[in-house]
């Protein structure tokens, strides 16, 4: 398999403190890759740099061979790399369908005047986007609430909505920041099922998650971070048996691994 995302020598410091110091890894096309590590090991900073929300100090990020280093988030999203956020983000005042219609992708061919004058081209794109939105709401099991504002959703439901919203962009690579943290345990398998289905349809995933079972069950490969560096990578079973990995978790994060990360 060829690498879809390539991260090479990425470094980012805040006020002289290295959040990420020289990490390199790749995400294979068609794969589900996990990114794990104790709190503060630089996972969030790394995906902020990959998705354009932070500008890396050094290093290169390429998506399917194209250099996307330091591009603004919207350009990276349009290139096919779309992310979710650790603290779930939705448009609280919009209903669920409207939440999904913000994405640019279904409206790529639609100009400003089309949108303003509601031309045939706009109406066609809008109809297709609404149909797609309803399909995705069905996929994540939120059809019943389609017309309700997102503010009434539970935390877990918002994460499902955010997942559907990401898929609206027809991404090639989705970066998920803790997709099941705070989600009702009974629904975690549901999320895994949705991700597998999307993966079969050709979407690759890079997933940050502390839930070991979730990562082990889903990922082909796991990258382990510790103290701003890559500790190791490999198949989940192999990585979890690695004494260095256990040491990193137990040695630094004795409060357990479900604490929300600060950065």
């Amino acid at each position: 398999m060829t690498a879809l995302l390539e991260v090479d020598g990425l470094a980012k410091a805040y006020r002289g403190v290295h959040a990420v110091a020289d990490v390199s890894f790749g995400v294979a096309a068609g794969a589900i890759t996990g990114l794990i590590g104790p709190n503060g090991s630089g996972k969030s900073t790394t995906i902020d740099c990959i998705s354009g929300f932070q500008r890396p100090d050094r290093g290169r990020v390429t998506l399917d061979g194209a250099d996307i280093t330091g591009l603004p988030p919207q350009r990276i999203a349009r290139a096919g790399l779309v992310r979710t956020f650790q603290t779930v983000r939705v448009y609280d005042q919009f209903d669920l369908v409207a939440n999904l219609l913000v994405a640019i992708e279904p409206f790529r061919t639609v100009g400003w005047h089309d949108a303003l004058l509601r031309t045939g081209r706009y109406r066609a794109a809008r109809a297709a986007a609404e149909a797609r939105a309803r399909e995705l709401l069905d996929l994540v099991g939120l059809t019943r609430l389609a017309a309700a504002p997102a503010s009434i959703l539970s935390y877990g439901q918002k994460k499902l909505l955010a997942l559907a919203a990401v898929l609206m962009s027809k991404p090639r690579l989705v970066v998920l920041d803790e997709p099941v943290a705070g989600v009702n345990p009974t629904r975690i398998n549901e999320v895994a099922g949705i991700l597998r289905k999307a993966n079969e349809a050709g979407v690759s995933f890079l997933i940050i998650e502390h839930n070991v079972e979730f990562i082990t069950g889903l990922c082909d490969r796991v990258v382990v971070f510790d103290q701003g560096r890559k500790l190791t990578e490999g198949p989940p079973a192999e990585v979890h048996g690695d004494p260095r990995v256990l040491d990193a978790y137990l040695g630094i994060d004795e409060h357990g691994d479900h604490v929300a990360e600060a950065s």
């Binding site: 939705v90 949108a115 609430l145 309700a148």
Partner: protein, 313 residues
């Protein structure tokens, strides 16, 4: 069918002057219509895009001076003055919008406020152009094909025509995908970016369009007043636009339009008590803000939400 309420509102307003039969009341209604348009333009930047822009006052003043100077200095017509006002405001808004829309929330408010104050300073101190505090009096009544907008009633219909045009445009814009995208950016900018939306072009478009609509409103209004002077950049106007938007409910087209008419009519309705009327006006404002912190439209939205929650329990 979607345009039906807009058409009904326009017809109702068109019937006002004959119903009043008084130049004074027609003048009040005329001011109400002009302020409503300016408030609706502020609603585009503040209510939809979430940008608290005090630059509106500057654009209002630039519009007023542009049309007045076009007629008195350049010998152009009133209509040419409106065109100049629109073009100058678009140019100024794009030029200052590009750098200041990149600043953070609070910096944006301060910079736009400074811009408005700067406009007032220019109006007062660039005496060779604006005649300073003397202002530019004696602005002639606009004419169209030999028809003079000489009376308050005639001018009222001129203003109403512009209001239908401007509000119709803002209504279409706000209800379009562009308006939805602005509201998305206001609610959660990083999320919108992660969905491929570039915030800056949307904000810049909202800022510039609102500048043009406000500027032309100001350009028309000075010809009703027949004079423009530095008082035209008094904070009173900005305060009026802002009150209308906040009471009506930022982000709600109809909330702002209705509040515009009510808030201008209210001081007149309170004339039964001339000494206390502004005190009562202030008290009504305070009570309205306490009872409706997100404006009238926000109050209705909250009720709907509560009903929905109850239905889902």
């Amino acid at each position: 069918m979607r345009q039906l309420p807009l058409a009904a509102a326009a017809l109702a307003l068109a019937a006002l002057p004959p119903a009043f039969g008084s130049n004074y009341l027609t003048g009040v209604a005329l001011s109400g219509v002009v302020f409503t348009v300016a408030a609706a333009a502020l609603n585009l930047v503040y209510g939809y895009a979430g940008l608290l822009s005090f630059a509106q006052l500057g654009f209002w003043g630039i519009g007023g001076y542009c049309s007045a100077l076009t007629v008195t200095r350049l010998g152009g017509s009133f209509w040419a003055g409106l065109l100049v006002a629109a073009l100058v405001n678009a140019a100024v808004a794009l030029a200052i919008g590009l750098p200041i829309l990149r600043t953070r929330r609070h910096a944006f408010v301060i910079i736009t406020l400074s811009f408005a104050l700067l406009c007032a300073l220019v109006a007062r101190d660039w005496v060779s152009l604006t005649r300073g505090p003397l202002g530019i009096p004696g602005l002639p009544a606009p004419r169209l094909f030999g028809f003079g907008f000489t009376t308050a009633t005639r001018f009222y219909y001129l203003v109403l025509a512009y209001a239908v045009l401007a509000l119709g445009f803002l209504y279409a814009l706000g209800g379009s995908r562009i308006g939805d995208t602005l509201r998305a950016i206001k609610q959660n900018e990083p999320l919108a970016q992660s969905q491929g939306v570039s915030p800056l072009p949307y904000k810049l478009a909202a800022f510039a369009l609102s500048a043009v609509v406000t500027g032309v409103a100001g350009a028309i209004y000075v010809f009703y007043l027949k004079v423009v002077d530095p008082l035209f950049l008094d904070f009173y106007y900005m305060q009026t636009f802002l009150i209308v938007v906040i009471i009506g409910g930022a982000g709600s087209f109809w909330g702002v339009v209705l509040a515009g008419m009510v808030m201008v009519a209210l001081p007149e309705a309170l004339r039964f008590s001339n000494d206390l009327r502004m005190v009562i006006y202030g008290a009504i404002l305070v009570v309205a803000m306490l009872a409706l912190p997100r404006g009238a439209a926000g109050w209705f939205a909250d009720r709907r939400l509560a009903a929905l929650r109850a239905a889902l329990e």
